[in-house]
Amino acid sequence: MKKLIITMIVLFMSSAVILSFKEENSTFNYAALPKDSVASVAAFKQVYTVLMSARCMNCHPSGNIPLQGDDNHLHTMFPKRGVDGKGVYAMKCANCHQPTNTPGLHTPPGNPNWHLPPADMKMVFQGRTPRQLAKQIIDPKQNGHKDMQKLIAHADDGLVLWAWKPGEGRKLPPMSHAAFKKAWLTWLKTGAYAPAK
């Protein structure tokens, strides 16, 4: 009996180690997670708060003009999406948006890959309910042809990471990138369930 208890304790501790993760580099063993609709939906509700924050939603507008500012107003000058999401004619994103944030308030934020989703797959966040957005994100016909591996990798995409270093005067998403990534991966790995509404 004593042996059995010790064995059980060892087994419990081992599994606890396997399931542990370092928040900074997110080495959590998600492959070990079973399907869990409750945990998945709870995680997506956290993800949703980030995706609907200004830093993410402003470049996932329902129209063809990006949004701007913490209040999601239409981008001044009304630049258009264009076919490839990188603007049109003399109003291409990279004409003003540099590879890095321009210093100072009310200056263009920057990233080498600054763009909106392309015209043939707009990946709209604005106005989507949690259910609509969850279903959209896991559908390769609506998510930029991303499979599960690409969705997982997207948490560390350069433009996604920009949201946490957005330059002066811009509000950060409502949680750290590490917490977002944890919620993102938990949602995906426990079954990517969509909330009821």
Binding site: F78, Y89, A90, A94, N95, C96, T107, P108
Partner: protein, 156 residues
């Protein structure tokens, strides 16, 4: 030293890599046709072409232009005979003139990519160039006129 090609001339400029391209163009090279307006990419007065794209030189670091092709209003044409310049003069577009080099550089990208622009195309291309004198109606007419000249030139 930073190597840069401006209006077809290969140059080396002694500039800090973070210096705005506009400073290099105006202060180091003396090409003062490009104007300083807002300094934060809001007005379009400083528009020049970087590899053919209408960048706002006030927020573009010279390091981004290293080894690249830059065209300013002085280099838009050799004899001031770009279809846009002819149309601009014919319709007497400028009032005070301050924003006009930026307007022309933006319009040049539009006409290169779309030789027959609609009013909507012109609005989409030119909405980043502000004119405090309100010359917008003449700018629109001149772009249509330049498109016409360009098409006629292509035929002859």
């Amino acid at each position: 030293m930073i190597a840069i090609t401006i209006n077809g001339k290969q140059l080396e400029v002694a500039a800090d890599p973070d210096m705005p391209l506009l400073w290099v163009i105006r202060d180091l090279l003396g090409l003062t046709g490009t104007k300083f307006g807002c300094g934060v990419a809001q007005c379009g007065a400083c528009t020049v072409h970087l590899n053919g794209e209408a960048v706002r030189s006030c927020v573009t670091k010279v390091s981004r232009a290293a080894g690249q092709q830059v065209t300013t209003i002085e280099g838009l044409s050799k004899l001031n005979d770009h279809a846009l310049q002819i149309a601009w003069a014919e319709l007497d577009v400028p009032q005070c003139g301050y924003c006009q080099s930026g307007q022309l550089m933006s319009a040049a990208v539009l006409l290169r990519e779309n030789p027959n622009p609609t009013d909507q195309d012109i609005d989409d291309a030119m909405s980043g160039n502000i004119c405090r004198c309100g010359t917008y109606p003449r700018i629109r007419l001149a772009i249509h006129k330049a498109a016409e000249l360009q098409r006629e030139g292509a035929k002859s």
